[in-house]
Structures are given as structure tokens and as C-alpha cells.
């Protein structure tokens, strides 16, 4: 489409003059179009069309009008109707034209019929004969157009007349005829299902038609049939799966492709059918897993239409009987959507998420930050869809925050959400806010629903709610009331009228006084006045004097309705018998919507009257002038004539996507700017820093200090980000498994304790401990080297006997970890997240293995069986004192970094109440652990799963272990250490195609030249392998002098690296959805290469 050159308007006058080419039109139509383009006001339009209609009238009744002219007349009539003017006198001529015209005229006649007449129009009966005749015509084009019109408008009663003919066409040699016949039968099925019951077998034949078009049109019928009774069509699942497979496999002719995607709309249709068939049916679902998987995989092109298919596919995966593997893939797809910088995709992602969270609310957790961002999005549609999403995940814990967000959104508060209201006062208070902020923008239903909610409850249960409402409204009315919206005043007066008597302590005179006061305000509308008067009527008698005064003052009102009500009020208050009789049910219905006028209004509207607009709206519109012909800029009002209009009215047809698809197919990533010199500036800077995986560096205090000086300032998380995370935590509370986990870190749950009988134990030096604690705290600030440093007292390895805590893998670890996984997004963390910080994973064992002291160096042997096989770092001693020694190692799990701490008792006695407290800077709480006692010469193992949300070069960990050697005598032993981003990076296994797709969707990039390792054969390969070893990267592909590498941060953010050999340097280009991640990864790459 790129070669399209827009026509310029300079060609316009010529177009009018010449009557050649495609725009071969007659004088009158040309004149009409010209006049229409020149219109400047509604008034002019009316005059023009009036003139036109009378001209048409004259022409059609003239016997000399040819069919050719009639065709042009029909187009003119179409224009008149399109602009909203009745041209019903031409309808009969449309039918005549279809009857008598040549092929083109006939088609226009049919077209006019389908545009002008709706089903059930009596004139359609006159068309039946024409249709019958054309269906039997030898001219295929005539058959074609007859079938088209039959599928559009055809009188229901006459279906039997054409049905046999249409059925015959199902076996017509021409595909277009068969296709149209199927569509006509579909229409018949919709309007008269009984008539086509006998031909279901023929639908089946159409489904297996050799022409893909015929097959595709039969899918409309099947979608409908399956929607109605899915069970009857399960046997067709195999066929639909096969069809989809063939489409995916590119078996259709190329002209079915749209932007090189094979028959996308057909795919969507098939996916819809499959999801209906597989819903709640495991065996049927199993048939389609493979093709759905393929469909998810095939959609590799970065074009809107593939995303449209993906969306449908994700929906199908979540509708049918679940399969874990597919769900995971689909969930990842949703990630691509919501994280996309393209707003349309983001929208569809939110929509998919809204659908999916109904099946699995936890998915919302993965995207909570995106959801928060979308909540504040400037685009109304995005915001609205996000609220819809939040509405679906509303629960008792997050309702207050979610409703608050909805309030911000003003006019959209489904009262239904409020059924989760935690208590009455909050509910009433929130509704007060809704009414006073949202006010008259609320939908009519909302106040009504609210009142119904109040009214329909059981008296005993809801009296408290009502009482609270009365109290709260009295308080509101005592304040300033002039700014309150009318609907709120109405709600208040209704509630006070109905329920004021519930509140014994309230003086009725006071209520009457407050309500009367409202009547005096000028801002109160007359509708509200009626509500108020009704309320006053309902307030029990006894205050006749006040009421009479009021009635007196209103009896001279100019408003007749008020005058009448005042009279009624007076009568009722004077005649208590009548009053009792009238108000027996205590219900006084006021038709506030004036629905008795609806008939009148709709009549007036149908006759062309403008819909009523309240005065303020009318005022706004004055300046905007929104009438159809004049609501653009005022300039265009005068310059709208066809000759001098310079604005481009031509269509430019270009697909904004073609550029993208070109980019992705080749992945030419040129243009890596060589901003920095070949030497770079970082390698020598980092030269002395300890290598990532050399724990020995940990014991060199000197190098620590150097490292501390070298370290880059750690970026502080912005307060805005913190706000968002706080919001996220309060919105998504209760979605994980442990719904009691407080996301704000205010965990009320006490740390789990291991209970055991206390045993006497000898004391150890507490003075030494306190000294060390101060020592260690000062040290913790220095411990910023890249390696995993824990403490600096490695002098002893004191354990003489080690006993490990038995690990019961299935019951505790498995549970504990899967729980952790579920709630991982739940937890609040600024830098890293600590999962399962409690010791639930490790339980004190009853069986204690005795190990000889010599084994102490190989503490890893103590790891629980399921962790033993994981890649791990060396064991480092953290800290020790005469009684206890702590060491740790890091285990690289796929979903988290496990920090394992070995606590060894070096004494011959039992140590009690051993509690480990692990804290990470910027991390609010790490649950402390207490184990009742640690047997003599034994070692216990506990581990923590850590996640890093926001990358930092290094994260400091500090912790304390407290224990009792004697009852009541607690010792504490501090320790500290550092973790680097590199520990949190895992390979991201993607294919080259996926890489290309992902690359385009990522926004943050960083480019830099790095050192190229030239010591071995292939420099690029050597360098990439070195990086891979150091940083756990995944080398996706190496093509010539370019290599692509992918990794991800544990919490999910991917980072893609594109490397190109550029002379003696390696030009690296990193991209990630996370703004800071590329920087950190680059930093670690530099270090790894510098140390190689």
C-alpha cells in the first residue's frame, strides 16, 4: 500500500467536468453530490434535500424515465435517506428496478431494497416473484444477487417458496453460488429455524466442501448451532481441528492471506467454535490441545491481526478444560499484550486479562504494576477496561481501595460491588461520596438501586444500616447543602421520609425543619421539591403547625405540581383518618422519571424533535456547536465548498504495520551507535573488583573497601514508584493463596515457632556479641562487593557434630514453595522479595543424623534432597561465636534465588530459641524464625527464597541470629552479606522468532561497546560463552558476526542482548521492558569480560 499517492484536490474540478472513467455519472447525481459537499448548515441541507426529493418524485412518476435513469434516482434516494430524510415513495420503484432493470440496474435495485426496507416491510412481498425468477436465471450474476438479497431481507412467511431453489444451489458447480446459498440458509435458520431442520445434513456437506469459502460460510451456521446446543456437535470437533490445522499450515490459496497471515478471520471463527465445544468437557478439549498450542506458536508475526488471533486463542485456552502447559503459554501471551507499547494491544491485553481472571484471579498479580499504570492512563477506554478488570477481582479485602478508584472514575460504580462492603458506616459514607461527587452524572439506576437496597432488606437486619443512613444524612443536611446534586437530595429526602422514625432520639421537628429549608433553596429543582414534599408527607403526624405553615407558603407557588402537593399535604395533615388510609403501607411512589410522558417524548423524537438537554449542557454546546454539519472548527464552516477546500479529503491507504513486519523478518539490528570509544571506560575501572563467583574474595577486607569505593550509587526507588507498589499491594490483596498476607508488609501473623521443651545450656559471652554487632553494622555498609560476602570471621569451622533437620519434601517443601510461588507477587518488597521467609520449609527433625566433624566443610551435603541437585555457590561462613556458627550458600532455582543458611551448634549443649532474622535493605520485614532448640553439635538448615523486582547492582542483606544458652539470657549474633543482580538472572529460552517479536515490543534500550575476547578461535563465540558462564544467559543464535542472547530477571522482566562484532570491540545493544535492567546487565557483562 506504500505506493499509494494521494490524489490532490486540484484534480477535483476536472472530475466534475469530465464524465469519463469510473466516475461516470449523470448530471443530477453529480449536482447533488456537489451540493452536499458544499453544505454549511443543517438548514441548507434541509432545503437541498427537500428540493431533491420533489425532483425525484417528479422524475419517477414520469413515464419517460429509463431504467438507467432510475438507477441514478435510486442512488440519489439513498443519499436522501442516508442524511435522514424519508424517501419512502421511492421504495416501490426500487422493487420495480430490481424486477425490470438490466444486471447493473437490477443489482442497484436490490441494494436499494436492502437499504430501505427492513424485514417485515409489506412491500417485500412484491419482491418474492422477482427473486424466484432470478434464482432460476441462467445468468449466474442474477442468481448471485438474488441469493444476496434473500440473505439480507426476505419475508419470513415466503421462505417455503424459495427454500427448494436455495437448497438446490448447495450443489451448484460455482463456489460463489454455493457460498451464498449457505449464507441464505443461515439467515433462514436465524429467522425460522424450523423450516431448515431437514437440511442439517447439507450443512455438514458444506462444511466438508472442497472450496474453503463455502466451508468458511458454513461455520456461521455451526457457530450458531453449537452455541445453542454444544453437546450435539461434539463429533465434529475433529473436523474443526483438522480445518484449523490446515489453515495454520498454509494449505489455503494465497489470496486468502491477509498481510501474509492465512485467513485470519476464519481462524478466529474456528477458535470460537472450538472454545464452545471444549467448554467443561475434558475429552473434547484434549482433541484440541495440540492445535491450540500450534496456534499460539504460529502467531509469530508482529501484526495486529496475529494479535487478534492470539487473543481469541488465549480466550479459548481459558475456556476449555484447562491444561497447565497451555495455560502457562497463554498467560505469557497476555504478558506480550499488556506490556506492549501499542495502545490497541494493551487494551486487548486488559480485555483478555479481564476474561482470564475470572478463571484464575492470580494472573492479575503478575501484571499488577501494569494494571496500576493503566488505572491512571489518560485514555478513558483503557481506564474503563482496567476498572472492569478490578471489578472482577474485587474481594472483601480490597473492596475499599477498588471502590475508591471507581469513585475517582465518577460515573461508574456498579452498586453490585458494594455487596462486599465491610461495614455499614463505610457503605453509607461511600455512597454519600458517590452521590455528592458523581451526582447527576450517575446513571438513573444507581440511586434507585441504592434505595432498593435500603428498602428491601429485612427490618431487623438492615435497620442499623437505615439508622446509620438517617444519622449521616441529617449531618449532611445540617451543613452546606447548596452544592449537593439533586439526586443526592432526592435520596436523602426519601430515606428521611421513610426511616426518620427509626431514630428515636431525632426530633421530628428538626427533620421537618431541615427538609423545609431545602425547599427554600433556589438551586433545588422542582423534581427534588416533589421528593421533599413526599418525604414530608410521610413523616408521622403531630407537627401539624409546621406542615400547615409550609402548605400555606407553597399554595401560592407558581409551580402547579407543588401547589397540588401542598394542598394534599394540608389535607392529609388535618385529616388523620384519611392519612392512615392513604399511607397505610408507608409507601408513596413518586414517578420521578416522568415515565408517563415517555410515549409523548418518543413520539416527538420520532417526529424529529431534538432530545431534551438540560440547560447547562445546552450552554456548553453553544460554543462547540455540535450539529452534524458544523461541529468541526469554525473555519471549515465557510471554507467547505468543493472548489476551495484544500484539506486532504483523499484517503491515504497505508498500513502502519508494514514497516514493523519488515523489521522483524530480518532482524537487521544495524545502527548500533558507537558512542563510546573502543577502549571503553569501565574495564579498567573494575579491574580489581572480585569476580562474581569467587567467594575467596570475601575474606579480603582490603578488596572490600576498594570495592566499596568503586561502587556506583544505588538508585533510590522513586516515591512515585513506591506509591504505585503500595496501591498494587492493596488492590491485589486476597488474590493469592494466603489471603491473609498483608502486602504492605504489616504482617500481623506471628513468626512460626518451633516448640520444644527448654533445656539448660551454658552461656556464652554476651559482651563479645554486642561488640560484634556494632562491628558488623558498620561492616554491612561496606559489604558492597559483588561477591557474596558474609561476615568476616572465617577463622573457625567449629562444628564437631552436625545434625540436620529432616526435610519432608512432599508435605512441607513442596507446599511451602508452591505457596510461595503463588503469593510471590503479593508480597511487598522494594529491592528484593523474600519468599517463604518463615521456616516453614525446614522442620526440626526427630531423626538427627550424626555427622563426623570432618564433613563440616561440605555443608551442602545437608541440603534437602530436592535442592541438592540445584546449581549452587560455595559455602561461605557468615559469622560465628563460640556457641554458634553460621554459613550460607546460594542455590539458583529457576523461579527464585534460594539463600540457604546453615546454623551449627559448636557446643556440647543444646541451644534454645534460635531465631534467624534476615533483613534486606529497603525490605520492610523478613519474618524471623525461632526454633526451639538446637541439639549439641548439630546443624540445622533453613532457606529463604529471594526475588529481585527492581534491579540493583548489589543488595545488602543483614540479619541477626538470636539464641539462648541459658533461660532468659539471649545472645544475638549479627551477620551481613551482599547479593548481586547476577544472582537473580536466569537464561530466557526463546527461539529466534520469539526473540525478534519480543525485541520489537521492548522499549528501554542501552548500547555500548564491550571488550571482545580474542584469545580463542571465534572471538564472538568465545565472548558470548564467557558471558553465558558468568551470567547465566541464553545464547539464542549466532549468525555471522551477530549474536543474540536473552535472559530474564527472576521476577519476570526479560532482557535481550544483541551483540555484533565491531572491529576489536563487541557492540552490545540491550533491550528490556524494565528501564534500569539493561544498565545492570551491561555492568555485569563488563565485569565478567574484564575478569576473563
Amino acid at each position: 500500500m506504500s505506493d499509494v499517492v494521494e490524489k490532490t484536490l486540484t484534480a477535483l474540478p476536472g472530475l466534475f467536468e469530465s464524465q469519463t472513467g469510473a466516475a461516470k455519472i449523470t448530471n443530477r447525481l453529480r449536482q447533488l453530490i456537489k451540493s452536499i459537499t458544499e453544505l454549511t448548515s443543517k438548514h441548507e441541507e434541509e432545503n437541498l434535500i427537500k428540493r431533491e426529493l420533489s425532483a425525484i418524485k417528479e422524475q419517477v412518476s414520469s413515464p419517460n424515465t429509463t431504467m438507467k435513469q432510475m438507477r441514478e434516482i435510486m442512488v440519489r434516494a439513498m443519499y436522501c435517506e442516508m442524511l435522514g430524510y424519508d424517501a419512502s415513495f421511492t421504495y416501490i420503484h426500487a422493487i420495480k428496478l430490481a424486477q425490470q432493470g438490466g444486471v447493473l440496474e437490477k443489482r442497484v435495485g436490490y441494494l436499494a431494497v436492502s437499504l430501505f426496507l427492513n424485514e417485515g416491510h409489506e412491500l417485500l412481498l412484491l419482491l418474492v416473484n422477482t427473486v424466484l425468477k432470478d434464482l432460476q436465471s441462467t445468468n449466474l450474476i442474477e442468481v448471485c444477487m438474488a441469493l444476496t438479497v434473500v440473505a439480507q431481507v426476505f419475508p419470513k412467511d415466503m421462505i417455503p417458496a424459495v427454500l427448494p431453489l436455495v437448497e438446490d444451489k448447495l450443489s451448484h458447480p460455482k463456489e460463489i453460488i454455493r457460498r451464498k446459498a449457505v449464507l441464505a440458509l443461515y439467515k433462514f435458520y436465524l429467522i425460522a429455524p424450523n423450516q431448515v431442520q431437514h437440511i442439517h445434513a447439507k450443512f455438514c456437506k458444506a462444511l466438508s466442501d472442497k472450496d474453503p469459502g463455502v466451508m468458511a460460510s458454513s461455520l456461521h451456521i455451526y457457530l450458531q448451532l453449537i452455541r445453542e446446543s454444544p453437546d450435539s456437535y461434539k463429533d465434529l470437533t475433529g473436523s474443526f481441528v483438522t480445518i484449523l490445522k490446515q489453515v495454520l499450515g498454509g494449505k489455503l490459496p494465497v489470496d486468502f492471506n491477509y498481510h501474509s497471515v492465512p485467513a485470519p478471520w476464519l481462524q478466529i471463527q474456528l477458535l470460537r467454535i472450538l472454545s464452545l465445544l471444549g467448554k467443561e468437557d475434558q475429552s473434547t478439549s484434549e482433541l484440541m490441545y495440540e492445535v491450540l498450542d500450534e496456534s499460539l506458536r504460529r502467531a509469530e508475526m508482529n501484526h495486529n491481526i496475529t494479535y487478534a488471533i492470539l487473543y481469541e486463542c488465549v480466550k479459548a485456552v481459558y475456556t476449555i478444560h484447562p491444561k497447565a502447559e497451555l495455560l502457562e503459554k497463554a498467560a505469557r501471551c497476555i504478558g506480550n499484550f499488556v506490556l506492549s507499547p501499542k495502545i490497541n494491544l494493551k487494551y486487548l491485553g486488559l480485555k483478555a486479562l479481564t476474561y482470564v481472571v475470572q478463571h484464575d484471579a492470580k494472573l492479575a498479580l503478575q501484571h499488577q504494576m501494569t494494571i496500576i499504570e493503566c488505572l491512571d492512563h489518560s485514555d478513558f477506554t483503557i481506564k474503563r477496561e482496567t476498572l472492569e478488570l478490578l471489578f472482577r477481582i474485587t474481594n472483601a479485602q480490597n473492596v475499599t481501595v477498588i471502590v475508591e478508584k471507581m469513585l475517582d472514575f465518577l460515573c461508574y460504580v456498579p452498586i453490585k460491588t458494594l455487596t462486599f462492603a465491610p461495614d455499614n458506616s463505610w457503605f453509607i459514607q461511600t455512597m454519600n461520596d458517590v452521590f455528592s461527587i458523581g451526582g447527576d452524572l450517575l446513571q438513573q439506576d444507581d440511586p434507585n438501586n441504592f434505595l432498593r437496597l435500603l428498602a428491601e432488606g429485612k427490618p431487623e437486619e438492615d435497620d442499623q444500616l437505615r439508622l446509620y443512613a438517617v444519622e449521616s444524612y441529617l449531618t449532611v443536611l445540617k451543613g452546606h447543602t447548596s452544592h449537593l446534586p439533586q439526586c443526592f437530595l432526592q435520596v436523602m429526602s426519601w430515606v428521611l421520609g421513610e426511616y426518620a422514625h427509626l431514630q428515636e432520639s431525632v426530633d421530628r421537628r428538626e427533620v421537618i425543619r431541615l427538609l423545609t429549608q431545602l425547599l427554600d433553596q433556589r438551586s433545588v429543582s422542582s423534581e427534588t421539591r416533589v421528593w421533599i414534599l413526599s418525604a414530608l408527607t410521610k413523616i408521622p403526624e403531630g407537627q401539624t403547625d409546621l406542615i400547615l405553615d409550609l402548605a400555606e407558603s407553597l399554595s401560592s407557588s407558581q409551580d402547579t405540581v407543588l401547589r397540588q402537593q401542598a394542598q394534599e399535604l394540608r389535607h392529609l395533615s388535618q385529616d388523620s383518618q384519611l392519612r392512615e388510609w392513604v399511607l397505610v403501607e408507608n409507601s408513596c411512589a413518586v414517578d420521578s422519571s416522568l415515565s408517563f410522558l415517555d410515549g409523548f417524548v418518543s413520539e416527538a423524537l420520532a417526529a424529529g424533535a431534538a432530545p431534551y438537554k438540560p440547560p447547562h449542557q445546552r450552554q456548553e454546546e453553544l460554543s462547540l456547536n455540535l450539529e452534524p454539519y458544523s461541529f468541526s472548527l469554525p473555519v471549515s464552516l465557510s471554507s467547505c465548498s468543493i472548489t476551495d477546500r484544500q484539506s486532504p479529503t483523499l484517503l491515504s491507504v497505508s498500513s502502519g504495520l508494514s514497516g514493523n513486519s519488515a523489521e522483524l523478518s530480518t532482524l537487521i539490528l544495524e545502527g548500533v551507535k558507537r558512542v563510546w570509544g573502543k577502549d571503553g571506560y569501565l574495564p579498567q575501572k573494575e579491574a580489581t573488583a572480585p569476580p562474581v563467583d569467587e567467594p575467596s574474595a570475601a575474606v579480603q577486607p582490603a578488596s572490600q573497601q576498594e570495592a566499596a569505593e568503586r561502587i556506583e550509587p544505588r538508585p533510590e526507588p522513586s516515591t512515585q514508584n513506591q506509591d504505585k507498589q503500595q496501591l498494587a499491594s492493596s488492590l491485589f490483596v486476597g488474590l493469592g493463596v494466603g489471603s491473609s498476607v498483608s502486602l504492605l508488609g504489616k504482617s500481623e501473623a506471628p513468626p512460626p515457632r518451633f516448640r520444644k521443651k527448654p533445656r539448660p545450656h551454658e552461656s556464652s559471652s554476651s559482651s563479645g556479641t554486642s561488640k560484634r554487632s556494632s562491628d558488623s553494622s558498620s561492616r554491612s555498609s561496606r559489604n558492597t562487593t559483588d561477591s557474596f560476602l558474609y561476615g568476616s570471621f572465617p577463622e573457625e569451622e567449629p562444628a564437631t557434630s552436625i545434625s540436620t533437620f529432616d526435610h519432608t519434601p512432599k508435605s512441607t517443601t513442596a507446599n511451602g514453595l508452591s505457596q510461595n510461588k503463588d503469593t510471590k507477587e503479593d508480597r511487598h518488597a522494594n529491592t528484593s522479595q523474600i519468599l517463604g521467609g518463615d521456616m516453614v520449609i525446614v522442620r526440626p527433625s526427630t531423626i538427627q543424623d550424626k555427622h563426623p566433624p570432618s564433613v563440616s566443610s561440605d555443608l551442602t551435603a545437608l541440603l534437602p534432597a530436592d535442592l541438592k541437585d540445584l546449581p549452587h555457590s560455595d559455602v561461605i561462613s557468615l559469622t560465628s561465636d563460640p556457641s554458634l556458627s553460621l554459613s550460607s550458600c546460594r542455590l539458583f532455582r529457576d523461579e527464585a534465588l534460594l539463600l540457604v543458611i546453615f546454623i551449627s551448634n559448636c557446643t556440647e549443649t543444646v541451644i534454645k530459641d534460635v531465631a534467624v532474622q534476615l533483613t534486606c535493605e529497603e525490605l520492610k520485614v523478613c519474618t524471623g524464625n525461632v526454633m526451639d532448640c538446637l541439639e549439641a553439635r548439630s546443624t540445622s538448615v533453613c532457606h529463604y527464597a529471594l526475588l529481585m523486582d527492581d534491579p540493583h547492582t548489589n543488595v545488602s542483606l543483614t540479619g541477626t541470629v538470636s539464641y539462648q544458652t541459658q533461660p532468659g539470657h539471649t545472645n544475638t549474633l549479627p551477620f551481613s552479606g551482599t547479593l548481586s543482580t547476577a544472582d537473580f538472572i536466569r537464561p530466557l529460552v526463546v527461539t529466534t522468532e520469539e526473540y525478534g517479536k519480543l525485541w520489537l515490543s521492548l522499549s528501554h534500550d542501552v548500547k555500548q561497546n564491550l571488550k571482545l575476547l580474542t584469545d580463542a578461535g571465534d572471538p564472538l563465540r568465545t565472548t558470548l560463552n564467557a558471558l553465558k558462564d558468568a551470567l547465566q544467559l541464553h545464547v539464542v543464535d549466532i549468525i555471522g558476526s551477530e549474536g543474540i542472547v536473552a535472559c530474564r530477571l527472576l521476577s519476570g522482566a526479560p532482557c535481550l542482548l544483541h551483540c555484533r562484532v565491531n572491529g576489536a570491540a563487541l557492540a552490545m545493544w540491550l533491550r528490556s521492558p524494565h528501564p534500569a535492567l539493561p544498565d545492570f546487565i551491561l555492568y555485569h557483562c563488563q565485569r565478567a569480560l574484564a575478569h576473563h
Binding site: A22, L83, G102, L190, G213, Y347, L348, T381, V653
Partner: protein, 144 residues
């Protein structure tokens, strides 16, 4: 399901309207005005979908002309968005570089093309060759 398809220019003038669900003649003009107002109010960086009454609008702008499709909630917005483009590509193929004036002068033909693509609110054909086949045959017969 598709409820209607409109072609409206920036000045709010309707160039083509096709309703797949009956809307009274008298109500169409105000509905169309509301629709265009809804689309014109949107900024470029906002998404191409707007909520409108109880359905969704999918719109796409080509020069000064908006093509707006009203759809039900269960429809796939993005697929409609691309359907619009497919429609324009077909028009472009037929008129070779289509312009607003082409559409005005050949209102009937644009309708015939549209009828091949959308029937009763369902997408029935998206293959460009097949969409144009009946119309091209008509043209041929009319010429001879």
C-alpha cells in the same frame, strides 16, 4: 456482531452508512453525530476503541475520513480494526487509489463491495479477489 458501519468525514458528514440492526431513520442522524463526536474527541495516542452506549466503536482514520464500526461487547475489536483496513484495501484495489470522492460518486458500488464482506453483521468474505469478483462481472456486463 457488527451493528453498523459508517464512513464519516472530519466535518461530521456521513459518506456511507450501513446498519445491520434496524435503527429508525429519524434516529440515525443524531446517532451518527454522537459517534463522530466520540471519535473526534480521541487523541492520536489513544486506542482505537471507544465505548458507546451499550456497544463498542472501532474506528480508523484515513486522511479526513473516519470509518467507524459499531460492534457488540463479545466481538474482537482488533479483528474488526483490521477488517476495516481490509475493506479499504479492497476499495483501493477497485478504485485504484480510492478517495472520499470516489466513495461519494460510487456509493452504490461501495455498498455492493461491503455487502460481499459483511452480511447481517457477520464477516462473510475477506478474500479480496472474491469480494470484487461479482462487482467486476457486473461492470463487464454493463460495458458490453
Amino acid at each position: 456482531m457488527i451493528k453498523f458501519l459508517l464512513m464519516v468525514n472530519k466535518q461530521g458528514q456521513t459518506r456511507l452508512s450501513r446498519y445491520y440492526e434496524q435503527v429508525e431513520l429519524g434516529k440515525r442522524a443524531s446517532l451518527e453525530a454522537d459517534v463522530v463526536r466520540g471519535c473526534l474527541a480521541r487523541r492520536k495516542e489513544e486506542c482505537s476503541f471507544v465505548e458507546f452506549k451499550d456497544y463498542k466503536l472501532v474506528y480508523r482514520q484515513y486522511a479526513a475520513l473516519f470509518i467507524v464500526v459499531g460492534i457488540t461487547e463479545n466481538e474482537n475489536e482488533l479483528s474488526i480494526y483490521e477488517l476495516v483496513h481490509n475493506f479499504v484495501e479492497v476499495l483501493d484495489k477497485y478504485f485504484s487509489r480510492v478517495s472520499e470522492l470516489d466513495i461519494m460518486f460510487s456509493l452504490d458500488k461501495v455498498h455492493i463491495i461491503l455487502d460481499e464482506m459483511i452480511l447481517n453483521g457477520h464477516i462473510v468474505e475477506t478474500n479480496k479477489t472474491r469480494i470484487l469478483a461479482p462487482l467486476l462481472a457486473l461492470d463487464k456486463m454493463a460495458e458490453s
